[in-house]
Structure formats: C-alpha cells, structure tokens
C-alpha cells in the first residue's frame, strides 16, 4: 500500500507544527487519535497558533471536513446490512485515504459481480492501517519537533500540500471559479476578527462555484461555442 508511505511525511510534519504551535505532546497526540483528519489538523494547528477562538476552530473543522459527507453517502450502501456497532466503528476510520482504497475495491467487486460477504473487513483493515501509520508518524514528528529550527520554514509545507491536492482537482469551470473566488476573498477577508476569513471565503467560493455550475449547465453549450469562436 504505497498510500501509507505517502501519509508518513504528513503525519511527521503535523507533529512538528503542532509542537511549534505550542500544543503539549499529549494534546498533539490526542488530536491525531480523537480528530484523525489530516487537513483539519493542519488548519486547526495554524488557527491555534494564531490564537483563534475555540468556536471558530470547531466551525472551521466542520467546513474542512464537510467533504466526508460525500464519502459517507457513497460508502453507505455497501455497509447498509451491518449492525450499528460496525457502522459506528467504520465511520471513525473513514478518512480520505481509507475511503479512496476501499471504494476502488468495492467498485471493482461490483463490476465483476463477485459479492463478498465480508467486505467490511477490507475497510476495517485499510482504516486500521491508516490509523496506526498516522499515530506513529505523528509521534515521530512530535519527537523531532523540538529539534527542527524555524529557519527551515517547515510551515510552508501546509500550503504546498494543499497546492498538490487542489491543483489536479481543478478540472472544470465551477471548481476553478470556486477556488479562485475563495482564494481572493480569503485575502480580502484576512483582517476579519476571530480568524473568520477562512469560513467566509470558503462559503463564498462554494456559492460562486454553484452559481457558475447552474449557469454552465443551463447555457454551457452556447458558452463553449462562444469561447472557441
């Protein structure tokens, strides 16, 4: 599973940054096990460092993790027959990475019409592998944290990680419009009190993207021809 190797540097960088932001070793570790969501952990560590109020941090976590509703919806039919205990356990393990490998596997199974009765074990295995990797790499980062000088500018890896994730995803006009408008509004709204800028920018960006999407669907064809003229 190469995806596990890819997670190791993120976990370590999170650990370094969490300690740098002033979290205690216990709190930095606990965030990895209680929250268990890479991007949200990166963002909240930044917000904690900037002294943002707790409510804003919780609401930002909500916005950053909203995408998991999609994972929850798409994986749900495969887990529908399980008992509640299983559902509650698997939901905790439903990270980006575990979702990605599991849904790929389930789709292959569906295509080959081989019905496996124990496929929830696959998600459990992927989830636990991710979980252990995340905890160990976080711990390694926390341990290293005190020894990494700030002149290394390691905080820049947050922006770089998100660039690496977002740029390939900008495949159509609505997502491009959402990204650009959210980015510009984030700069304009940077001075808002309580670090509200991120929330305002994200919601505005989604609104602009939706607006472009509806326009694109209603007269997208004509727009395409107009452009290529």
């Amino acid at each position: 599973m190469p995806i596990l190797l890819g997670v190791v540097p993120f976990g370590m960088i999170y650990g370094v940054l969490a300690v740098g932001a002033g979290l205690t070793v216990g709190a930095a570790m606990a965030m990895s096990s209680i929250v268990f969501a890479g991007s949200a952990q990166f963002v909240s560590v930044q917000l904690i460092h900037a002294g943002a109020p707790g409510l804003i941090i919780v609401f930002t976590t909500f916005i950053v993790n909203l995408r998991h509703i999609l994972y929850s919806a798409s994986i749900a039919p495969y887990l529908a027959k399980l008992n509640p205990m299983w559902k509650w356990l698997l939901a905790y393990l439903l990270t980006d990475e575990a979702y990605a490998v599991t849904i790929t596997r389930y789709n292959q199974e569906a295509a080959s019409s081989v019905k496996s009765a124990s496929r929830h074990w696959y998600l459990l295995g992927a989830g636990l592998a991710m979980w252990s990797t995340w905890q160990v790499s976080t711990a390694a980062g926390i341990f290293l944290g005190a020894q990494v000088p700030s002149s290394w500018s390691l905080d820049f890896t947050i922006a770089l990680t998100f660039i690496a994730l977002v740029v390939p995803a900008l495949r159509d006009r609505p997502s491009l419009a959402a990204a650009l408008s959210a980015g510009i509004i984030a700069v304009l709204a940077f001075g808002l009190p309580y670090k509200l800028g991120l929330i305002v920018a994200a919601i505005s960006g989604m609104a602009v993207g939706l607006w472009v999407e509806t326009r694109w669907l209603s007269n997208g064809r004509r727009g395409e021809q107009g452009d290529s003229r």
């Binding site: 979290l23 709190a27 965030m31 209680i34 929250v35 991007s39 949200a40 904690i48 707790g54 941090i57 919780v58 976590t61 909500f62 950053v64 993790n65 909203l66 998991h68 509703i69 999609l70 929850s72 994986i75 749900a76 039919p77 887990l79 529908a80 559902k87 939901a91 905790y92 439903l94 500018s153 820049f156 890896t157 947050i158 922006a159 770089l160 998100f162 660039i163 690496a164 994730l165 977002v166 740029v167 995803a169 609505p174 997502s175 491009l176 959402a178 990204a179 959210a182 980015g183 984030a186 700069v187 940077f190 800028g197 920018a201 994200a202 960006g205 989604m206 993207g209 939706l210 999407e213």
Partner: protein, 106 residues
Amino acid sequence: MNVWLLLICMGLVTYTIRLSLIVLIGRINLPPIIQWALCLVPPAVLSAIIFPELLMPKGMLDLSFGNLRLHAGTLAAVVAWRTRNVLLTIGVGMVALWVLQAVIPH
C-alpha cells in the same frame, strides 16, 4: 476554550460528519445541488488557505519580487498541474524556497 474541550468538539464534529449518511442512508437522499456544493468544498477551502499563505506571508498583501513564498508556491503549482504527484510538489516547493532564501536577501 480549554484545549481538551476543543479537541473533543473537533472530534465530535468530524465523527458526526463521517457517520451521518452511513446511518441515515435510505431515510434521506441528498438533493443534487447539495452534492454539487459538497464537491466544491475541497477547492474552496484549500484555496482559501493557500492564497493568504502565498500572497501575504507576513500578514500584509505582498506582491513584490521579494515575496519568496509566492515564487516557490507558483512553481509548486506548476509541478502539481503537470505531474499530479503530491510528494514531488512538496519537495520542489520546499527546495525552491530554501534556494531562494539562500540566494535572495529577505
């Protein structure tokens, strides 16, 4: 807010989102417009984090040549666009920043 209370609230929010439709499936269906909106969450949120990091590294808008993070970030964006390789993007961006910091006084 106490840091432990904060962690528990963050965990609850995250867990509730992940659990929501696994439990509610069959009882509610997401209308298409909500699904579109959710697809736009990653580009909107991530860009809202990236832009200030690159354009205002010291808390103020800085479009000058001396803004090294803007150069390194732009280069990383090109690498991400051409290769779609996460680790390569981070590696190139960090090395670019270190080289620029060593070469250009800031």
